[in-house]
Point group: D2
Chain length 303, copies 4
């Protein structure tokens, strides 16, 4: 992305000052999105040092260091618009089916998510990623005091979409609100409108800082990632340095020769131990990974 790539991760970006474990229906998680050369999921999910699966047991950053309340993986395959989404309610670290899939599925675009619930039911319909048609969505963060605003937000979901809301998380609600507000035509605009709506409804209920989010959303072609919080202290988010830059920094790393220049990872928490590989997404920012060139812009909720 157009930014200050290759910089070291600074200590303040390692902070993750999300809301504390209080109230109901607060999700705090870790996630990863990949776009690039078709690759075995295993290469990203399990093989790196401090992989996402390792993080399910022992994350370094974040409020919750264990993310054992379910997981999900979603991937696109050729000739199918709609991605496969496999989710389960146990910890990722011990899930054999996830490992089997990771070792046998190749995909050019996939999401993976590990969940730490702090009250919402641990059930498949509350696991990320969420899917609607060709779209996938995953989230780390929370709508503050969700139990108080949930009804008002639910009423804002387009009635035709309402029956598709299956679970009880703030994350899925954010997805359906974004779909209601135009996600399929204009992802950044729709997410901005969703964030504006969540903040307005939160403020109406006396919530000072209604929204805390890092979100990833895709239609299988473009991948968008958002980092924002009402308090301006968003949960961590990182994107990988351009592969050609990394190759020149690390000519000996075989893995880098196997993937294309346009391969890109966006993660809650860096994987691996390659110096220069990760760049913090700045506070209040969104990025787009797409065939016509990646972009990064300021993100502001829309009224």
């Amino acid at each position: 992305m157009k930014g200050t790539e290759g910089t070291t991760v600074r200590e303040e970006d390692r902070r993750d000052d999300g809301p504390r474990r209080t109230g109901k229906a607060v999700d705090m998680c870790r996630w990863l999105a990949y776009s690039g050369t078709p690759i075995l999921l295993d290469s990203i999910l399990y093989r790196p040092v401090h992989s996402l699966i390792d993080q399910s047991l022992h994350a370094k950053m974040g409020v919750e260091t264990t993310n054992g309340d379910g997981f999900g993986v979603g991937w696109y395959v050729p000739d199918k618009d709609s991605p496969a989404v496999v989710r389960d309610i146990g910890p990722a670290w011990s899930d054999r089916n996830l490992r089997e899939i990771a070792e046998h599925v190749v995909s050019p675009l996939f999401f993976a998510h590990i969940r730490a619930s702090t009250g919402t039911a641990v059930q498949q319909t509350n696991c990320h990623p969420f899917r609607h048609g060709r779209w996938m969505w995953m989230h780390n963060g929370a709508i503050a005091e969700f139990h108080r605003v949930r009804r008002d937000l639910a009423l804002s979901v387009e009635p035709g979409l309402f029956p598709y809301v299956e679970g009880s998380t703030d994350s899925e609600m954010m997805f359906y609100l974004s779909l209601t507000l135009g996600l399929e035509e204009d992802p950044p605009g729709a997410v901005a409108r969703m964030a504006g709506l969540v903040e307005r409804v939160g403020h109406e209920h006396g919530v000072e800082f209604p929204l805390q989010m890092t979100v990833s959303v895709t239609d299988g072609v473009r991948l968008c990632a958002f980092r924002y919080s009402s308090q301006k202290r968003s949960r961590s988010l990182f994107y990988s340095t351009r592969v050609d830059t990394l190759r020149s920094l690390h000519p000996d790393v075989a893995f880098l020769r196997e993937i294309s220049d346009d391969a890109r990872l966006i993660v809650s928490e860096p994987l691996g131990d390659l110096p220069g590989a990760w760049n913090a997404v700045p506070e209040g920012t969104y990025g787009v990974v797409q065939p016509e060139g990646d972009e990064m812009h300021a993100f502001e909720p829309a009224a």
Copy 2:
């Protein structure tokens, strides 16, 4: 109950003409409610011929002959207002924890339910019984075309109760609508108002026969059971004959000497093979099992 006790179950009562397996969010199940002498759950759940647990694998009546999409058991204990509710998503027939509980828990009032989903997610929050405070609720049947009316019904739930709706079933929605409409003060009245609301909203959406239900609800003292459907072809429901009558019919049955005169079972489908033990609850009827004497009345939805 005051009715025609001790009669044989007639063939037409064995019919169970519920809606077919179509559409989303239709629950078709089997359930059992017990009130009487404190008894080991096992005595009722597992030991009878054609027990509820047997029915989970091979029910005789009903649209679905397998009820393998989760189960639940709820029981009251002394010194606790709120009942214990244990639910899980696998089939009851192979669940070891259910058997352990049944073999070690004694209770004077308990519910058990086995579920056949026809589309709604198989998850703990969709399993019966549902609980709110000291109240428990379970259901067999369906709100027809629930996906079309779900939003309107959700809006009718009292906002303060809305956050407690955890799952996505019509059954839980009926419970929270009944709570909204006065269940804690007047159970039969509240259920009648709920049924009236469901029918009105269904008719507004062009649904001819909006409601099909057998419901059991209790606060730990009184137990109410309802049999009703808009089409007047309700799913089967039976209540057990008075224990003193059964004892005189079957002086040799040891089990009958162990339970008190006021013991009462209400079931979707008869258990055991004791002649004269079961009586069909008539179409459009509700019964109340209570310390001051059981009653049976006509049931009519309230406008």
Copy 3:
């Protein structure tokens, strides 16, 4: 296979006279094996009338009509010797992850299995298919009185293989006995020696008819299927008619034009409703599906 293809399934082949539900550790199941053109799993697992997934809820043949105690699917992909094996303990009919995988995975050779346990624990390590290296195995039937012979059979497993036995089923034990007895060099010979061993040990323990099996085993290239029982009343097994023969019988069926001449299905119970599509594997017979031409031979346990 070389046999009497294209014949109608006769009523006596529809019988499935396996041992009754008695004793511990008896598995009775349904399975399916496919070899041929790379195909979406969904085409075989879900789309046919009376598909395997339908059979999980309502099988027509067999002792158990519900197969809701877990399932598994195993498939080979290019560039990987070892197959993916995904197994879970709930019923197949409601498993969303299985459906996701089926709708997004293409494979030239796969197994699927649905389980009805009659006492052995319902756990992932007891679900089929079982895998060892590049080999996959699945089974329908039982070692009679398995709890009495289990120890002696366990001692016959090669000590180096012993630690790989993870579950408690007779089916997995048969697999490791076959591996011990040369499966990797000579599948039909090894299975014959395994069957001979099981019969000898059973007879030593006074069991009249020790073995009942239909088995499928593959290394990813050759697929072998066995139908045998000590009592000569084996559980049902069918293989599909040659695709070119079916095409000339049914020139209008589009699906038949999409698959290659060498595509072959072996199933516990016929799928679909295409006349002439299925042929009973005779009692005491095994077949081999392989690139150099399919074969069918008599099967006899080896002393």
Copy 4:
């Protein structure tokens, strides 16, 4: 117990120098055993600061700080010899059924266990406590290199007991070896013989330090707890100070007035924050909690 009660826990007792996470089939866990006044399970399992359920997410001591690979609780009730045992494979911290049971079940003697697997399958039959008749057993630790010695140990299990071994853990094997070696007549002697056997077989396979264990076993009357390791660096174990001593130390603590003088807890890791409440079980020691007075003795494996 007769020991140096009321002493503070010293820092060296907080060490937990068990074997590292290597190899297969190594269980590392946390557990708790209670004997005394009949008490609501919740009082011990959930209410204390740093409760066992808290430890499932964040243990302070031990090799594994997360114990999310299943849990179990076993309790005795009046009029039943055999205890109830409820076990499940998800993390204890989010399990609603465990909480329901804890809030509604009263027992004078119960076990609770949270598991951290390092390779053995996460399945119900691998969860503690294990039960045989009226006996219950749970374990924290490991048989080193279990996959290498498992077969030899399995052969040492009495053939009549062999079919009862359902899972694949070292812990369950230790239980059935102890039953084989006289557990029902002489628990300390049988456990000593089991430990001697495990060490002998381990040494035969070149394992330097074959055994690491803290074990609790009971028949519903006497409760025995063992702390031992071949390396003399056993995993931590603590017993609670006599209730009358604690009462005089803490006259204001209401909870202490509700339980009887003979109430006793044995735990992997102290609960609560009451000074003087916990005493380390010394290295190579076992204790017996029993109606005729508690005892503590040196423990030595028997040849």
